[in-house]
Amino acid sequence: MVEIVRMEKITKIYPGTVALDKVDFFLNEGEILSLLGENGAGKSTLMKILYGLTDPTSGDVYYHGEKINFRRPVDAIEKGICMVHQHFMLVPAFTVTENIIAGSEPGKNGFVDMRRARKEVRDLISQFKFNIDPDTKVENLSVGEQQRVEILKVLYRKADVIILDEPTAVLTPQEVDDLFVILRRLRAEGKSITIITHKLKETIALADRVMILRDGKLIRDDVDPSKVSTNQLSEMMVGREVDLQERRPAKNIGDVSLHVEGLTVEEDGKKKVNNVSLDVKAGEILGIAGVEGNGQTQLIEALTGLRRVDSMELLLNGEKITGASDGFLRAGIAHVPEDRLSMGLVKEMSIKENMILGYHREDDCCDRRGVLKRKEINDKGNRLKDQFLVKAPNVDAKIDELSGGNQQKVVIARAFSHNPKAIIIAHPTRGVDIGAMEYIHQQMIELRDKGAAILLISADLDEVKTLSDRLLIMFEGEIVSETMPGELTDIEMGLLMTGGHSMIEGE
């Protein structure tokens, strides 16, 4: 095998922390390398050095045996090292073609040759069987398709080495499968691929070789994914045993706590949620699995009072709840929203302020005249920060400065600490690392065992399967199946999630 990239004794010191400590790295031609590590392990920093986004404090980088020193990403792109960023670098208002060519346009005399551009893009799309229309605007594409546009951008620039930063973080399970097909196809074309990830199953499914970083140090760079289990990998990554697959079923399921009947939400003339009824019992986790965009968002927003519904009867412990979201909160229905940064947190505000958002009018935060109690809020912030293991210098730190996992812990701390009777939790561990994931799962189970009714909506099949005491599957706004976890295989669940329920029922 030909070695294409080699990095020797890379050290990167940020003020106060050693991000990378004498890390060696190599990438062979035509392989898929999984660079595995928790958030903050240094994997992104290492790739940023290769890509020219930041300089190493010490250490050398070789490309095709030649020592290189990229000053800017453009230098790397010119040599054929390209990166697909986690947050897409696309212009939603441009067409696919425009997005791909911008910056390296075909044409002469300063004019863009759109005909040639379109043809080149079309050829690329058909060469790699990407199945997107080069003339649609990117804003009309799904997340998975947008990612394909990002990959096309890289291919258009004749990349030999492709770095993908957390490529599956925003994808649905189906889109992940599609992505893997694409990446294998790229490998077959001789491209060398590195994926930065902390997902173990995906690593095992995709990679040829696994390299593991922990706390800025290289742990292993020669793991053969076909010879290890996810447990072994997570142990190498976290440094201790982690078990995410262990089920801890509820022991004390009580009476119906949250009763929803006849929920219908119309949007743009379509019934996004169609006559859904469900019950969540006290001390139970009810999981809802489904491909995103099948009404989950509307369901969540209806059950938390964020959206006007066309019809719904919602009873919490027998009491009818109506009105706006603050009424729902006060009645005891807490919410862990789908997207923590856009709905769960104000990222410019401090940890302690975020800890009380939505509950800031309660007596422990606010006096009768409407003045916030500074000391109490500060104490409360500190208490929750310690209790929920939020890693941050102090409670005045801005949410912005925290990792995804710690941000999510702030959301969880706020919602869980108010002893909700019922709670709607959406994608609780999206984009957080294994340590935080394990912790959040544990907290959810504790809350359940304290008698809360939990409705869990997640695109992560493993998560719903492991945590749920009862499992619903949602497709096109309807509940298409109700089972106990373990009754269905992954394949059956996948079929139900994509509208194949009639096939299964017909068996």
Partner: protein, 306 residues
Amino acid sequence: MIDFDTGLVISILASTLRRTVPLLLAATGGAFSMRSGVIDLGLEGMMLAGSFFSVMGAWMTGSPWMGLLFGVVFGIVFSMLHAVMHINYKVNGSISGMAVNLLAAAMTPLLLTIVYGLSGKSEIVTSFSNFDPDWLMGIPFLGPILGSQNVIFFIAMALVIISWIFMFKTTLGLRMRMVGENPHAASAVGLNVKAYKYFGVAMSGALAGLGGAYLSLGQMGMFVKDMTAGRGYIAVVINAFGRYNPFGALAGSAFFGFFDALQTIFQSVFPSQLVMMTPYVVTILVIVFGLKGGRSPAGTGKHVEE
């Protein structure tokens, strides 16, 4: 009362075109600024600077062409104030734009006093005459309308076409629009984001300066204090109304120009205070009803850390 005959129609349309030109130039300039991701709230000040310095240039050199050049150059100079504050020092673009407007509003009367020793208005300078060759005047209807325009009108029309071609057909135009839509994406493919923003703002200064020059030098041959009278702000609205497209700016400016022209003609019929409100009332109506569904470039006001 007014008789509605051909003569009146011609005079309304000719007047419409004259009133379109300054709005059109400023709005097209604004399109450059907005497309590069910088808000165009400084148009009023750049226009006012253009109208003052073009007259001063013509007064100093005796040539209206030199005056025009002065107007354009000082439009750019004033725009650079906005650019440096916003692009380099990351001042909120609305604030740095307003700073330009305030500076121009304060500076031009001061310079009037210093340069001419006059308050309120400047001396009269040589201006452009109408472009009215016999062959043009011979064309029925269209001839007298176009024949009562000066050379800046024709320059403005050419600039609209050139600007459109630049924005939508050239490499640099595509890149400038990319910067305006998503500066991070632009930076990631190696574009110099700041340079494109500077270019966009400079173009807005140049075109707004030219628009201002048309008002003073092109129409009256002199500068009058506060003579832009909010046209720069109206251009901001027109630009949004025209979806940041030079041809959209043309349509929008003609729409406003028409109401502005009607206003002068109906002043003899209705109370003039009421009639003079028309362009501003139309502006408000456009803001309320005409901007729906339009959206400004997504990267407006965003910076890239380098």
